[in-house]
Amino acid sequence: MAEDDSEWIIESIVGYLGSPEWVIPVTDFMENKCTVFDDEDENKLSYTDIHQQYKKLVEKLLENYMQEVGINEQQFLDACTSPFAKSKSLQAVFQPVLATDDFQMFRSLMVQKNTELQLQALRVIKEQNGALPECLTDGVDVMTELQQQEMKILEDVLKKSKEEYDEEMSRRLLIEKQMGSTSSSSSDKPNKGDEARSAALTSSKQSNTSKPTLGSSVQPNLLPAVRAPTKSSESSDANRHQAEEQSSSTEAAAEAYLEEAHREAGFSKPYTELSPSQQEQLQQRAAYLRQQRDKLHALKREKQKSRQAAEPEEPSHTPPLEPATNLEISAEEKKKLQKRKHLADKLKEEVVKK
């Protein structure tokens, strides 16, 4: 095959790996499955099944992609083995693909994702309270134990608010569908506010099953996978794709975390087994979290708007959850938070290093 061919194919593949068609299902998968991945030396048997599922997903995606673009495996292979494809920046882009065949790499991606979500959870709590709630900082001295407990409590809280969340999702989905398609407004489900939420309460199941298709149905024609070859800006192109991938994954992460934590919480100690005072605490926190979530959604929507308005100039480096103020945090609380953050960072660092 001519070298030029390889080049546009590689461009196209890289484009695809930065496109919603790829990023959304892959990020979704990782966020949904990462919670069992800890950084213990020993691997759990369940990792293997998850890895198999991941392989299947990637296979299917790549198969679809090749069909869509009209290249065969040989062309794909030739392109991927061309010198162009082996540049440093592209290697990073290909990591999620490589992870299909490399369990250790897959594992480290998953552990990393899990850490990210934990950090995000901490940020959610911090933002809503101005600091971490007492029950997450008091009484336990050992940091790791503290973290575990905190995650468990958070999971319970999230489980508690699952209904509200599902309802919110299905409402959003409905609105997006209505906006995306030309469908006549069959609005038996009204616009905003609390009535709409309770009205949608019954459709929580629907929101679960329809979520995976969100990417393709909501964003049908973003970023064509095939892009014109640009010889001079190979690496900067790749970087841009990375940036895109990162930003969209960060945004999706916050949301998917909430969803997955519910699911995972199904395996942890049920809400009803907690002591009454714990239950009360959880309920309080659930209320906080609900507020938080609403803020998050508003933020996200705004962001999407501004993104659509000025797509090229805004690679969006600022994470959507960045706390606006932390004025009310006392010095002591700050120290605790820093300690915790440091720990999480260390964990993350180790994961990345591996």
């Binding site: 030396d41 020993e42 691997n43 759990k44 048997l45 990792y47 293997t48 299947k56 990637v58 296979e59 790549l62 198969e63 495996e73 794909f76 292979l77 991927c80 083995t81 494809a85 082996k86 290697q91 290909f94 693909v97 490589l98 299909t100 065949d101 490399d102 369990f103 250790q104």
Partner: protein, 187 residues
């Protein structure tokens, strides 16, 4: 999994761009045989804090210019049904036996013969470590070989090696056999 799988895997192999030959080795055997101890010895890690394996461990060991990816799967009875999920694309099987655990020779022999019949291990060379030779009650490797009917294995290369995973004695001899064998096979 069809065509795409083959294509995908070969792409990925090339993407790795390493010239180093990678070898996939699966380490199996009954619980308490000493698999994890052996793995840690191979990786030159501390063997004093090992607990029974509930899942699996992986270590990559450089040897004879090759990268050996060694997978150690837990051997407890409840975990054994999962063994077959780890056999695909295996280049070599290491089977570890506690040479001092005579009561379970029959059990370990049965498990081994089931593995030998696995489709994914067809023709795959097998190295048997007759482990814990440092114990006075350990049976010699030759006796174990006889008990396992190793001489009837005609469809593959095999070797039995006496060793002590704790002291490391005999382990290197086994690894040498592996490397010679893999080199012969892959060239």
């Amino acid at each position: 999994m069809g065509e795409a799988q083959k294509g995908l895997l070969s792409v990925i192999e090339k993407l790795k761009g390493s010239t180093e030959q990678e070898v996939r080795i699966v380490l199996l055997g009954l619980d308490n045989a000493g698999k994890t101890t052996l793995l840690k010895t191979l990786a030159s890690e501390d063997v004093n804090t090992i607990t029974p394996t509930q899942g699996f461990n992986i270590k990559s060991v450089a040897s004879h210019g090759m990268k050996l990816n060694v997978w150690d799967i837990g051997g407890q009875r409840k975990i054994r049904p999962f063994w077959k999920k780890y056999l695909e694309n295996t280049d070599l099987l290491i089977y570890v036996i506690d040479s001092a655990d005579k009561k379970r020779f029959e059990e370990t022999g049965l498990e081994l013969s089931e593995l030998i019949d696995e489709e994914n291990l067809k023709g795959v060379p097998v190295l048997i470590f007759a482990n814990k030779q440092d114990l006075a009650t350990a049976s010699p490797a030759s006796e174990i070989a006889e008990g396992l009917n190793l001489h009837t294995y005609r469809d593959r290369e095999w070797q039995i090696q006496a060793c002590s995973a704790v002291s490391g004695e005999g382990v290197q001899d086994g690894m040498n056999w592996i490397c010679n064998n893999i080199v012969n096979r892959k060239k």
